[in-house]
Amino acid sequence: MSDTATITDARLSFVRDRPFDPLPPPLVHSGAIGWLLQNLFSSFTNILLTVSCVAMVVWLLPPLIEFLIFDAVWDGSSRADCIVTPQRPAVGACWAFVIERLGFFTYGFYPIEERWRVDVFFVLLAFGIGWMTWLDAPRRGLGMIYFFAVMPVLSFFLLVGLPAIGLQAVSTAQWGGVLVTIVVSAVGIVVSLPLGVLLALGRRSKMPVVRMSSVIFIEVVRGVPLITVLFMASVMLPLFVPESLTPDKLLRALVGVALFAAAYMAEVVRAGLQAIPRGQYEAAMAVGLSYWQAMRLIVLPQALKVTLPNIVNTFIGLFKDTTLVFIVGIFDFLKTIEAARGDVNWATPVTSVTGYAFAAMFYFVFCYAMSRYARYVEHRLRAGDRR
């Protein structure tokens, strides 16, 4: 026994007989200071980025807030209220202008005594969107019928007019502002998704005629700018079709925007379809589902989920692209601002800036809402099957 001990001592002479000195405590990783150290000041690059971002905010934010809120003019009835005077050395945004022309921005040239019809339309639409987007809503099947059948028909007669029941006819040439922007994008969104799905399936079809027509449609429409499509619809169509048969100008623009968006949507959906393994389709076939059942119940739910961020991306792009309809003489929201800012009664240095700021906020609110909703749906779908 003692032998072993001596051998061990001799051979393992490097064994320490004193404990190591304690290591320094770890850096703080908890609490506010820990968070700051870890996330904002963890390295030289990070410190540089943090400092420059803070500098940007300090540089930009105060003047912006000052312009939009503190120096802004909220009440007034003409340019006199929004120009620099000795009593008012700094003038910010001229919200008085926006407030006074809000009706024009919302309804365009829609007859003032009939504007309530547009308001009812907004309520019908908001109700439908609420029903569709609230995933736990009761009777969603009924909601679908309302959104895709009842509401469009009601809205059509409400907005266009039905003299038989006392709703005076309003020409679409009088429509404008938010009304047109909402109508064009809602129709674009609602038409482009199903049409895009059909085109995407068509492009993957085994039937040559279906496949070729889908490919040609998608490639031709994607190959030309939206402005060209709109010009074709509004300028060239009337040249070939007798005037009595020429459809309404707004309708032509609607069709142009919807078809344009559908071509993009088709490629987005196709990307999603590509991501679904072949085995899913085979399994669906093997249990006896038909092609359409397999697509509707198995492949599309998975494909659309994969590609949801891209779908919403396309919707957001479409929403902003609706501003291009002004080019064929339709008064969308942005165009009404364009028209109003030239008003002599409101000619001030800040009128245009105010109008554009208002437009930016309007588009941002809608696009950001779509983006957030998509995030929420994604999150929910992921929670659904990857727990």
Binding site: P277, G279, Q280, E282, A283, A284, M285, A286, V287, G288, L289, S290, Q293, L297, I298, P301, Q302, K305, G384, D385, R386, R387
Partner: protein, 261 residues
């Protein structure tokens, strides 16, 4: 005695065709220039269990995938339960309703719960009321011994459990014939047994089964006939005892020596 029966059925007169579950005669298939199936002749009687083995690329999966028309053959006849498979979609749907299939990679529907996976086809294809479909689904889940997983999603189950769900999914359509395409090949070793046990039970209930597998123990235990394929042809076909003890062809001997050692 029983093992000899299949051999005899090949020469049965046509009037007894009602007992034939699957009949392939002179089947050829090409992928482009590649000749995958060469003159396949195989007659399976009702209640018979066939195990198909062979090296990879020998066409065994392709052959059973032809039986429910996941692949189309280009020459010869395939008759399944009295229905000849052609381009006719109605015929194909008719066959698929009565033929269950289990895949190597399970192919469960990941966006549906286990129960929904099982009830989908009965509800949409057989037009069964949901309550009845649920009842049948629970019955088969119990049979594959995982009734407690009904509410889970496939991604939450182990490979063996997923494959048993896949078997239950096929059974919910009360198929007359079951096709298994390497059902245990993508499973961890310890899960192979639970799936094979399920399949043995199914065989004991008299299900007509065509199984592509390399599980030779399973072949010995339940098969009526073992089919050996190579390069798109059926090289040898025999009762399991004969097949393992006394292989006729050099290719079979080589294959068996590799797979059994």
């Amino acid at each position: 005695m029983d093992e000899n029966a299949p051999g005899r059925t090949r020469f049965k007169p046509a009037s007894l065709n009602t007992a034939v579950a699957v009949d392939l005669s002179g089947v050829h298939k090409w992928y482009g220039d590649f000749h995958v199936l060469r003159d396949i002749n195989l007659r399976v009687t009702k209640g018979e269990r066939i195990v198909i083995c062979g090296p990879s690329g020998s066409g065994k999966s392709t052959m059973i995938r032809c039986i429910n028309r996941l692949e189309a053959h280009q020459q010869g006849r395939i008759v399944v339960d009295g229905v000849e498979l052609t381009d006719d979609v109605k015929k194909i749907d008719e066959v698929r309703r009565d033929v269950g299939m289990v895949f190597q990679h399970f192919n469960l529907f990941p966006h549906l719960t286990v129960l929904e996976n099982l009830t989908l086809a009965p509800i949409w294809v057989r037009k069964m009321p949901k309550a009845e479909a649920d009842e049948i689904a629970v019955h088969y889940l119990r049979r594959v011994k995982i009734p407690e997983q009904a509410g889970k999603y496939p991604g939450q189950l182990s490979g063996g459990q997923q494959q048993r769900v896949a078997i239950a999914r096929a059974l919910c359509m009360s198929p007359k014939i079951m096709l298994f395409d390497e059902p245990t090949s993508s499973l961890d070793p310890e899960m192979v047994k639970e799936v094979l046990d399920t399949m043995v039970e199914l065989a004991n209930d008299g299900m007509t089964m065509l199984v592509v597998t390399h599980e030779m123990g399973f072949a010995r235990q339940v098969a009526n006939r073992v089919v050996f394929m190579d390069e798109g042809q059926i090289v040898e076909m025999n009762a399991p005892q004969e097949f393992f003890a006394n292989p006729q062809h050099e290719r079979t001997k080589l294959f068996l020596s590799q797979i059994l050692n």
